[in-house]
Structure formats: C-alpha cells, structure tokens
C-alpha cells in the first residue's frame, strides 16, 4: 500500500523526514503526519470516484480540469513532440553507430513505450468531451508513434524481436493433412508464432475459379462437431451441405458461398463482391464491401468496417435441408436478417453502410441438390 510511506505507527519519528525539525514534542508531528495521510487518502478516494488514476503518477494523468479541446490539443502535441524527438535521437544514434550500451537503449525504448501508452490513456480519459474528429486524429498519431517505435526497436535489437518462437517442440497428437499451399495463406505477422505449420484446420484455401463442394454428415466428425475455414478464394462457388459447428471466412473476392446450417457462429473478415447464403446462430461480418447476404440467423447479425452490404432472407435449397436446419435449431425464420447492428454506426438513424436488398434485386432460391 502506498499510503504506508506516511508511517502512522513509526516508532521513531526522528527517522522520517517530516519529523526532523521537531524536537520538543512528538504529538504535533504525529498529528501533522496524520493529517497529511488523511488528506492524501481523501485525494486518492476522490480520484478513484472520478474514475481517474492516481493523480501524481504522471502529469498527463492529472485530472483534466480544463475540458477544453484547445488545452487538450496543446498538451497532446507537447507530448507528441517530445516522444518524436526521443525517437529520432535514438534513431540517429543507431544510424551513426554511436557507441552506447544496448541496455541503455532498451531502457530508453521502454520509457518511450510508456510515454506512448500514457498519451493513449490521456486521449481515452478526455475523449468524452472531444470532437470525434480530434479523437480519431489523436489515435492515428498514437498508432504512428507506435509504428516508429517498432521500427527503431527492430533497428536496435533486430535479432531478439521474436525470440519466443523457438520452441516448436511437440507435435499435435492427431496429424492434420499437410497442405502444400498452407504456407502461403498465413497472414502477415502470424508466422512468427510458429504453430500454424503444425495445425491447419479443415477448409478450402487459396483457390481460383473453382466449384468447391463439401458435405458434412453425422459420421463426419469434422462437420457435426467441427469448424471449417474458407480463406483466400477468388471467383469460386462454395457449397457446404449439412451441419457444422463454426465457419470462418477471410479474404473472399467475387465468390458465391452457399451454406447449410451452422450450429454456432460465422465469422467473416474481408470479402468483396460476394453473395452469401448462410444459416447460423450468430454472424459477425468485418471488412466486407459490396456483398449481398441472404441470412437466417438466431441473433442480430453484426457488421463492422463494412460498406455497400445488403441483406435479404435465406433462400437455399437441397435435399434434406429442412432436416439440417431443424437439427441446428434453425428451422424457423426469425426475421433477424433485417436487424443488423453496425458497430461503426452507433446512432439512432439508419447506418449508411448497409441496407435491405430490394425485392426486385433478390436472387431466386438457389438449389444445390445436384453437385
């Protein structure tokens, strides 16, 4: 506890700084210390109530008594300039190979990193009165600063950067099919974790101009109880029949995706010019552009960072589809396909990013019975 530095029960007051001047009696000293402690406690309490962090940890965190955009911005830009100058100093030292101990530089970088997070905190704590434009600009600045720090860091300690990856010791108990193209579809920055070579979930990856068909039935463990992934597809038609537990999709372009029943959730990250016909319990759509979604979903579909996405009711058919939907608790139309939540548009008026697909633009029921 920080409060203990005021040592109310210190047996020898002479040892504490506040007590040295007082030789006559002990009581006033104790009283003074007591008062100081009480005041500090009450300050801390106040700051806690206000939801702010400890006021004297750094000056950026001081309670924002101003609530003025102008003084916020001036404080913000001061910190920004000072961080930038620290960064460029480090950068130059490195470029000119000025000798200096690595550990010193490391501490410097840690300090910069701390200043950046303080700055971030500062923005967050004041965001309630700032215009949203300023908040966005500030957050962008912070992201840039972090990037610069990363750049400098990789200059100073290039080899240590991903040291935690060197432990690919144990293999998975059930070997999953080795896909020769699997290396290619690892996302940027993911290979450093060094585990995706070992484990690759079932799915269709990196295909072009193909019709991809997969049927899940009861005996098929990867369907009924498993997940499936569609990744990096272009100009493809995908037909997934039967029930599956979870479906992940990313980087799809000009594809038609027809899916039976998903008993869990569907997650889409990155799609353009696609048509989806999906039935599932939950659907989350991120970074989709100009796509049509024909959905049956038990909860509200959500979109984030999308635009030009349109929604209509589910319209798929194949032999036994009713049974599959029934089994996955998707037998009934819920009308949720039209209750879209846009996480980028938290206002009462309709989001400009999505709309209901007009009747005359909707496709007919798609029948994928014969494959």
């Amino acid at each position: 506890m920080e409060e203990n530095v005021f040592g109310t029960n210190d047996p020898n007051p002479r040892t504490t700084a506040t007590a040295t001047a007082d030789n006559t009696t002990v009581d006033p000293t104790l009283q003074r210390k007591n008062a100081a402690m009480l005041e500090r406690l009450s300050n801390r309490h106040q700051s806690r109530l206000a939801g702010k962090s400890d006021p004297d940890s750094t000056n950026l965190n001081a309670p924002p008594s101003f609530e003025s955009t102008e003084s916020f911005l001036s404080k913000f830009s001061q910190s920004k300039v000072s961080i930038e100058s620290c960064l460029s100093q480090l950068h130059q030292q490195q470029e000119n190979r000025i000798p200096g101990s690595d550990s010193n530089r490391k501490t410097d970088m840690e300090k910069i990193s701390l200043s950046i997070s303080d700055l971030e905190k500062f923005v967050a704590e004041n965001s309630y009165f700032l215009p949203s434009y300023e908040v966005r600009t500030c957050l962008k600045t912070i992201a840039d600063l972090k990037q610069s720090l990363d750049d400098v860091t990789s200059l100073v300690i290039p080899k240590k950067k991903f040291s935690f990856k060197n432990k690919p010791s144990k293999k998975p108990t059930n070997p999953v099919q080795e896909d020769t193209v699997s290396e290619k579809n690892l996302n940027v920055g993911s290979s450093d974790l060094g585990f995706k070579h070992l484990i690759m979930s079932p799915g269709f990856r990196d295909k072009e101009k193909e019709v991809l068909v997969k049927e899940f039935d009861k005996s098929d463990t990867q369907g009924q109880n498993g997940e499936f992934t569609l990744s990096g597809l272009r100009d493809c038609e995908v037909r997934l029949k039967g029930c599956l537990r979870a479906l992940f999709m990313d980087r799809l372009t000009n594809c038609r995706i027809y899916v039976g029943a998903v008993m869990g959730s569907v997650l889409i990250e990155g799609a353009e010019g696609c048509v989806f016909i999906l039935a599932s319990h939950q659907i989350r759509i991120h970074n989709a552009k100009n796509c049509d979604f024909y959905l049956r979903v038990r909860s509200r579909p959500i979109i984030e960072d999308c635009n030009g996405v349109k929604f209509a009711p589910y319209c798929l058919n194949y032999e036994r589809i009713e049974k599959d939907l029934e089994e996955a608790n998707l037998g009934e139309e819920t009308a949720n396909w039209a209750n879209v939540d846009d996480f980028r548009w938290l206002r009462a008026v309709q989001s400009p990013n999505w709309s209901i697909l007009p009747n005359n633009e909707r496709i007919q029921t798609v029948d994928i019975s014969i494959s």
Binding site: V176, G189, G226, Q282, R284, S299, I302, D305
Partner: protein, 169 residues
C-alpha cells in the same frame, strides 16, 4: 467481487456468463456495449462485467478496469487465424497498471469443437509462462456450449481472490 470478462469478439464471453448463471444460451446477440450480471457464487457475490469484444469497442475496455478483482480472458480455441490478435490484445491488457493486482483466469473456450487447440497449446501460443511472476493466473479449458470446465475456472478465480482479500485484512 468484481470480475471483468474480456477477449476477442466471437470468443464466447456472454455465453459463459449466461451458462454459469443457468440461463438460456440458444439466442445470444453479439454484445454491443456491455452486460452486467450479479451472481451468488459459493458464499460470495460476483459482479460480472461482460464487455463486447468487437474491434471498434475494444478501446472502451479501459473504462471498466477500475477496482477489478478478477480478470477473465476468453479465447476461441478454434479460431487459429486470430490467435496473434488475441495474444496482442492480452499483452496490452496486462500492461495496464489498474489491473496489476487482479487474478487472471484464461478460458480456452470451445474445447467441444473438433480441431480446437488444447489449453496447453493456447498457453504456449500466448506465451503465458513469460508473464510477470507476481501475477496469479491459471488457464482452464472449457466449453460454454456444454458447460464443461466453467465451474473449475470460476472456483479457482473466486478462491484466489478470496485468499488475497483475507491476506489484506
């Protein structure tokens, strides 16, 4: 006891809270904002703050840090592609001073799904062994779908918090 539930979107935070409270989990909307649930658990009262995990609203997590006794980080063990995202967000969270004293329970959720990583594998990917030695933490495999593992996780969390509170008294 104040418990904060966080993790990426689609990891199953809301489902876990509802399941442990014995509620229906068949229809759950993705969380836009947060839910608060007060649960009597053993002899304690838990205030569970279940905060949405969508990218757009992750920056608001910090508004819920104050006075958190226990932190529950939920991982979708079947979402291999976003595990680095998951690691990154967790690392950021653990740097937060206001959470430094909180006990950390990591739920490796969706163990019922074929192809999900085991808790041990998740621990390795998230590099949990490298965590600050003063942190009380534990990883537990679970399935919010079947309920498996949830009580084990919460039992540990509640006991750990309780023992810390007694020590302070």
């Amino acid at each position: 006891m104040r418990i904060l539930m966080v993790g990426l979107d689609n990891s199953g935070k809301t489902t876990i809270v509802l399941k442990i409270n014995g509620e229906d989990t068949s229809v759950i909307n993705p969380t836009l904002g947060f839910n608060i649930k007060t649960i009597n658990y053993q002899k304690y009262i838990l205030n569970i703050w279940d905060v949405g995990g969508q990218k757009t609203i992750r920056s608001y997590w910090r508004n819920y840090f104050e006075q958190t006794d226990g932190l529950v980080w939920v991982v979708d063990s079947s979402d291999l592609r976003r595990l680095d995202d998951c690691k990154h967000e967790l690392d950021n969270l653990l740097k937060e001073e206001r959470l430094s004293g909180a006990s950390l329970l990591i739920f490796a959720n969706k163990q019922d799904i074929q192809g999900a990583l085991s808790p041990e594998e998740i621990a390795k990917v998230l590099n949990l062994d490298a965590m600050d030695k003063t942190r009380h933490w534990r990883i537990v495999g679970c399935s919010a779908y079947t309920g498996e593992g949830l009580l084990e996780g919460f039992d540990w969390l509640v006991q750990d918090i309780a023992s810390r509170i007694y020590m302070l008294d």
